[in-house]
């Protein structure tokens, strides 16, 4: 029997970095032993508990990058150094790579944070990485400096308004890279529409892909059933968030709908 205790652990915030207008990185003096792509549940007592990807786990320090989008994430942004939150995890699956592979990483939104963690590990494993970060405008670009500092990792930027890098979608940049380079695997975290496009491109090219499928999560334990994806019927908190192209192809909901906290289908409108 797997013996596991999932009570939250109280940890104090050691440092807060304002990354962009919308995103802060919280640094904790602890490790959860996470691999890139895995997530933790962060608990603010008497408020709520929500899933967030690990942006770095050094073995002694844990980084989480959070975009302020609603009540909980705004409450996180209001916390100060020294304040404590409850953390449990790591949960879920992670990105994998093999020594020496050539990878394309496609990030939208806060996706640059977990993918930075992956790029860091992939580079250490001797992989070379094309890292494409997209944002609406230059000042919303996440982790750009840190990414360019990684050896073996080439940063590509796309902004909707052209204020930095390529003007347009980051998926256009991915397309270009596909045409120019032999990519072993595409790894992507961000808006579902973006990931859907990336997946279609990868499939066309016969290239492997790993996609972070995010559904409304409660327990993170594979018990409440809220995050189960249609088609496979597996909980995305256990067999995801990171899933292979082969698995995502079997999903009936991917790119079409997700479920809200009552289990009701919510269709994407893009």
């Amino acid at each position: 029997m797997k013996i596991i205790n999932t009570l939250p652990r109280a940890v104090a915030i050691k440092k807060i970095i304002q990354e962009t207008e919308q995103v802060k990185t919280f640094i904790f003096d602890c490790s959860v032993g996470a691999k890139p792509g895995q997530f933790v549940n962060i608990w603010i007592p008497r408020m709520d508990e929500k899933p967030f990807s690990v942006a770095m786990d050094t073995g002694t320090e844990l980084h989480i990058s959070i975009a302020a989008v609603g009540p909980f994430s705004n409450a996180m942004h209001a916390l100060k150094v020294g304040d404590k939150v409850g953390i449990r995890g790591p949960f879920g699956s992670n990105f994998i790579c093999e020594k020496g592979q050539h990878l394309a990483l496609l990030a939208g939104g806060y996706g640059a944070a977990p993918l930075y963690f992956f790029a860091y590990e992939a580079a250490a494993k001797g992989c070379t990485v094309e890292f494409i970060v997209g944002a609406r405008r230059k000042d919303l670009l996440l982790f750009a400096d840190r990414i360019s500092a990684l050896k073996g990792v080439r940063l590509h930027i796309a902004t909707n308004d052209g204020s930095a890098g390529y003007e347009g979608f980051n998926t256009d940049v991915l397309k270009k890279i596909f045409n120019e380079e032999k990519i072993d695997c595409v790894c992507t975290v961000g808006p579902e529409i973006m990931m859907l496009k990336a997946m279609q491109m990868a499939e066309e090219k016969g290239c492997a892909a790993q996609i972070s499928v995010e559904r409304y999560m409660k327990c993170g334990l594979g018990v409440c059933g809220n995050c189960c994806v249609d088609g496979l019927g597996v909980p995305s908190c256990i067999e995801g968030p990171v899933m292979s192209l082969e698995k995502v192809k079997k999903l009936r909901d991917f790119g079409k709908y997700h479920r809200d906290k009552l289990g009701k289908k919510q269709y994407f409108n893009f």
Partner: protein
């Protein structure tokens, strides 16, 4: 079952007239939100599934954290969220398309009228069995003292639901009642609901509720403060209540509570269960726990010369 791999022992059981290829069923409220996830539970080895409790209307659950675990137990206060009958209809239809293992629809309500409404709705969905939840401790606030606590109320709601099923074209569908252990006499309640028209019993729902406090925050961990106790911790209570109910009524029972292994499942059957519900073990042993349990039951039967698993039902009662 002709399409199953040949095993030494015959693991199939008949419960209220419904045939299950093996006695392991998914308990209500675990992974039962979508049709596809229930079909996946069957692919993972279960003989049948129970849906999450269905309401006659949209019902909000509790904020997170809703589930915590220790090595010994799980505490949950999910709060029985549900999107209502329209979603239920769609999911059951989908389940029938992709899976032929028996489907048990668990229904719940806040007041008598709710039970009437959801019974009428679920009748139209034609599940194999209807399981009536009158006992969930973490919706205590809405149910007041939950109906499971009162012999009279339990019988009344059973009668009402049976009647609504009958009126709505589901007179052939067996109704079973799921009981809470948090009552003075579970056996009296079992008897009263059987007298009121139930064909069988599910025992037990979660125990307590209990509370876990995070001492570093000096705060209860569950957002709801308290939650139902399930998992390995409650097995002796579940076995005891199944034993008592079987002894007093000989009714068909789904024995649920703390079952994680093939030995646990056989223990529950010997106490008197025909089917064995599995919930929290999905966390403790993983998503494929159903198949693991079935395999372990199989091995035990082989090692002990048991040719037909159903001969073990209630066996402990023969011996004293």
């Amino acid at each position: 079952m002709p399409s199953e791999p040949i095993t030494m022992a015959d693991l199939s059981v008949k419960f209220c007239g419904v045939k299950f290829k093996n006695p392991i069923v998914l308990a209500s409220g675990i992974l039962g939100v979508t049709a596809d996830s229930m079909a996946q539970v069957v692919r993972n080895g279960a003989g049948g599934v129970t849906s999450k409790s269905l309401w006659p209307y949209e019902h909000q659950g509790h904020p997170n954290p809703v589930i915590i675990t220790s090595e010994h137990y799980m505490l949950n206060a999910v709060g029985i969220p549900d999107a209502g009958p329209e979603k239920a209809r769609e999911e059951i239809a989908r389940y029938r398309e992709v899976c032929d293992a028996p489907f048990i629809a668990n229904i719940v309500g806040g007041v008598m009228d709710d039970y009437a409404a959801i019974a009428a709705e679920v009748a139209l969905m034609q599940p194999d069995i209807v399981e009536l939840n009158i006992s969930c401790p973490n919706v205590e606030d809405e149910l007041g003292k939950p109906m499971a606590c009162s012999v009279v109320k339990s019988a009344e709601v059973t009668k009402l639901v049976r009647a609504k099923l009958d009126e709505n074209g589901a007179s052939k569908i067996p109704l079973i009642v799921k009981l809470s252990p948090n009552v003075e006499s579970i056996v009296s309640i079992a008897k009263s609901v059987l007298d009121a028209g139930a064909s069988g019993i599910t025992a037990i729902n979660s125990v307590g509720p209990g509370m876990a406090i995070d001492i570093d925050f000096a705060q209860p961990v569950l957002a709801n403060r308290v939650g139902g106790l399930t998992g390995p911790a409650i097995k002796p209570l579940a076995v005891k209540y199944v034993y008592d109910i079987y002894k007093a009524t000989k009714a068909p029972i789904i024995g649920t509570g703390g079952v994680s292994t093939g030995r646990d499942a056989i223990e529950m059957m010997m106490a008197g269960a025909t089917l064995v519900g599995v919930g929290s073990a999905v966390w403790f042993r993983g998503q494929d726990v159903f198949g693991k349990i079935v395999e372990e039951m199989n091995e035990w039967c082989d090692a002990n010369g048991v040719k037909k698993l159903s001969t073990l039902i209630g066996k402990v009662h023969e011996n004293h």
